[in-house]
Symmetry: C2
Subunit: 538 residues, 2 copies
């Protein structure tokens, strides 16, 4: 067979040739929506590559982005790796210290920054050791006033190029294409390097009928930030398949997202539970037509069943939990319904939808605990391990590699059970697992149960040190408006759990919070909660 490397630049060529008029619908500000056909996008990616090469981009050079989801960021997704350089998608929600750390650690030579985020970068610029050029992404050619040197206008750089640049075809498919850093619970963020091969195969997976079935017929809205785990790979795959894509720009207000879904007739979208909770609330308050949606993908943390039920039962939109992480490109598994699940009741279906689901073709999973590989019996817990062609095998120049990557597997840090038919169900993070009297208690199961109670808006169950049992669960609850934070409510919630779980699983106490602390990507920050509540059981 031909030695034909799997390269991202082939996606651009394909979109340009077969879907020249399909649109990238890009919101760059409050009232600004660009509609860019793939033929123009393709030309712009080539202009971009040529322009960046003039300010020092070359093979293996790191180019940072600090940006929302919009067409210029998408141009970077292809223009940078297409030329053999590496796009480092900096998470704009990291602390300034961590932003400095990741840019220095990755050794970014050029940094492309959204104009509204530029003040943030200006402040930390003196600490950036490797960045030689800043490029401001903005509609129009004007530049902000700044003391910094080597600040360029994206559109001005582009205007100087005619698009005759051609992406090299002699790249090895294992050439690094991109990198993201994942926030660690302690210490600095850890870098993950993506290769062309990994991202191409990941894109193929998104197009498979039993996965997302991404098609040129779709109109895909990427809500997951493009600086977070490749926006789950949707922007890449959408170009491959010639899918119309909607990029929502800065500020993810639920109303704005619903407007985009309704106006652009979005068929598929992906985001974290927090987003969907907000969208649902807005939808109930101000109804929109979302009938075009054929799939909502929800991941990043466990999907509350009430949320799934609302979309599936009331709005008839398949609400599919996805599982993945920065280290996995990210798609590992999807809670799709297989033919064997046709006869399930709505309750059973929602139960399934809340799980992590079935792994993509091309990946392998297992669960391991103290006794070695655990059986797939839906009961025995173990740490989820993953391997495959789009799974990282190291953290970039980081000694924490040895913890997570062992004997050819990624140790995800997630505790799961696997049903006999292969469905993965996450029960906890290894770090969040509650070990009471030598037995494991799943905080996620307890949280999911609590979230089905009518009074509960958010629930986090954490392990608290305990003299006798070493650890005991504590339920931290945010109530919905109109419910009272009193002892009667505590008793009601605990009784509610007692009816569903073994007695020793039920938390010893409930505390009420105004808000659950969250990470930059909306995940519960249980470490902070544990620290705050550490003395609760004396």
């Amino acid at each position: 067979m031909m030695d034909a490397p799997l390269l991202l630049s082939s996606f651009v060529k394909r979109a340009e040739r077969y879907f020249p008029e399909k649109l990238i619908i890009s919101r760059t500000g409050e009232n600004t929506i660009h509609r860019i056909p793939y033929k123009d996008f393709a030309k712009r990616t080539r202009q971009l590559a040529a322009a960046l090469e003039k300010i020092g981009m070359g093979r293996g050079v790191k180019v940072g982005s600090f940006a929302w989801n919009h067409h210029r960021h998408l141009e970077l997704y292809f223009g940078v790796p297409g030329a053999g350089a590496i796009l480092h998608m900096v998470n704009i929600r990291l602390s300034p210290e961590h932003i400095i750390y990741v840019i220095n650690h990755a050794e970014d030579d050029i940094l492309l920054v959204d104009h509204d985020l530029f003040p943030l970068i200006e402040k930390i610029a003196p600490h950036l050791k490797t960045v030689k050029h800043f490029v401001i992404m903005k509609d129009g050619l004007d530049l902000p006033e700044t003391q910094l040197e080597n600040v360029h206008s994206y559109e001005q750089l582009m205007a100087a190029e005619d698009g005759s640049y051609e992406f090299p075809e002699d790249l090895d498919e294992n050439t690094p294409a991109g990198m993201c850093y994942t926030s660690a619970t302690t210490g600095n963020p850890k870098g993950v390097v993506y290769t062309h091969r990994g991202l191409v195969l990941h894109s193929y997976a998104l197009g498979m009928a039993d996965s997302m079935a991404l098609s040129e017929r779709d109109i895909a809205l990427s809500i997951v930030p493009m600086f977070h785990a490749n926006a789950w790979g949707l922007p890449f795959a959408a170009v491959l398949f010639g899918t119309t894509q909607v990029l929502p720009g800065p500020g993810f207000a639920p109303g704005m997202l619903l407007d985009l879904i309704e106006q652009e007739k979005v068929t598929l979208t992906a985001g974290v539970p927090t987003i969907w909770l907000g969208v649902l609330k807005e939808l109930e308050a101000n109804p929109r037509n979302i009938d075009t949606l054929r799939m909502i993908i929800c991941g990043g943390s466990a999907s509350p069943k009430g949320l799934i039920r609302a979309f599936e039962e009331k709005y008839h939109v398949p609400f599919v939990t996805g599982y993945g992480m920065t280290e996995t490109s990210p798609l590992v598994s999807l809670a799709v319904t297989t033919s064997a699940m046709e006869g399930l009741s709505m309750d059973e279906r929602i139960e399934r939808r809340s799980m992590a689901g079935l792994p993509m073709p091309g990946l392998e999973v297992r669960i391991v605990n103290e006794n070695g590989e655990a059986p797939w019996d839906g009961e025995t817990m173990g740490e989820l391990n993953v391997k495959g062609a789009w799974i990282a095998d190291e953290y970039y120049k980081d000694e924490r590699t040895a913890d997570a990557f062992r004997d050819g597997w990624l140790y995800t840090g997630d505790i799961a059970v696997i049903e006999s038919d292969g469905y993965i169900k996450l029960t906890d993070r290894t770090k969040d697992l509650i070990k009471s009297g030598g037995e494991w208690i799943s905080s996620v199961d307890l949280e999911n149960a609590l979230m089905t109670h009518e009074a509960v808006f958010e629930a986090a169950v954490i392990a608290i040190p305990h003299e006798k049992w070493l650890e005991r669960p504590l339920a931290c609850i945010v109530l919905k408006e109109g419910y009272r934070e009193d002892d009667a409510m505590k008793a009601e919630l605990l009784a509610y759990l007692e009816s569903q779980f073994a007695k020793w699983w039920v938390p010893d106490d409930v505390v009420f919070l105004k808000e659950v602390p969250k990470t930059s990507v909306g995940k519960f920050l249980k470490a902070a909660l544990r620290k705050e509540m550490a003395g609760h059981y004396g």
Copy 2:
């Protein structure tokens, strides 16, 4: 990213883990249908690998198969390459001389033969220089009486193994997995070697939403022989996706195929036009319920429009032309309807369905003629070139490699035009093209037009040497029953063409035949016709 090779053995593991009860429905004889769940299939592939290793199979060893489409052949599809050996699927329809040639040329060490085909092999056995063992594939343990030595029973070899064998995971993905020979118009057949990587990526393509969308929900009937271009890759991809598959065994009678479609509720199937012409005739005579079919794929040669119309209009089954060849694994393109084609009339839709369609993601195509790369204008003809990860880059130990593989492309020998939206339309084989007075005339266009005439059963238009124009077209016609082969009919057919084509395209004459000579896989043997008719224009 992890160095995770793309290997066929991973398909077996996946089917076994996630779809253990899904069935391989295998017809091995007149009234014998086996129903083998994937869990048993997986065990049997491991038994097979262990058994064959005991009689000399090892990495790089060639193992020949001489068999119909059934579960044992499918076991060979995985058991042989899974172990690092190479499965040579011998075309049982070749002439005895060519069968001897391909087995000797490939240097097959072991030959696995269907019991009903064994007499054929027995006859030529003295000429086979490398085969050391013959294995008879048959229900039951008994062996035919034979003078040959080292003849084993497949089921007896299997019975000695416990299935504890494990497929090696240290194979390079570029390891050869299989080979097929393609019949050349002159000279010996030419060998094509398939790699694990190529077959895995090809399988991914079959699962994509905009391609066949092959899913675990499907019930796929492989009518294309497993000794012909990997049965279009369906048996491989079906295992990957956990698709129920139906293998129709010996003797492809239309009635039997329709019975299988109806009884097993087949959703997707693939075969050559000759098969579908027979099936349609039988369906009209003896109606069956084929409502479960969601796609018929038709390839190998041009699909007559009347055939497409019958299935699309009367039976509401999408009838999709596919294009490919032994050298391309084989799927290059499919005549799928894109979103841009939604508004087409039935006639326009059928026109599109008769074309070769859009190339798979991962492949590149172009057309070239004397002026270099031809434009995609739907008019300019050129030889179709293809490249990509599942396209061959040579003929196995064959100096004809230099003709077909040039500057990184496969020169397919097919003349095509490409529409502005990328749809490929084949107009001829390079060898069948008619060059009249320096202009190209497409025999396929003329044939397609003739086939829409109510009197015509089959039509082949060929180039005949001509004193003045160098070549002129001649129409060779097989009439349907009840029509008279007379001058009035000739005049009517020529007038019919005149109403549709430029005058100089219309053949100078018509001859009536009882049958168009065909190759072993049902393609028109125009070379034979040209030879026979060479003096027709004097």
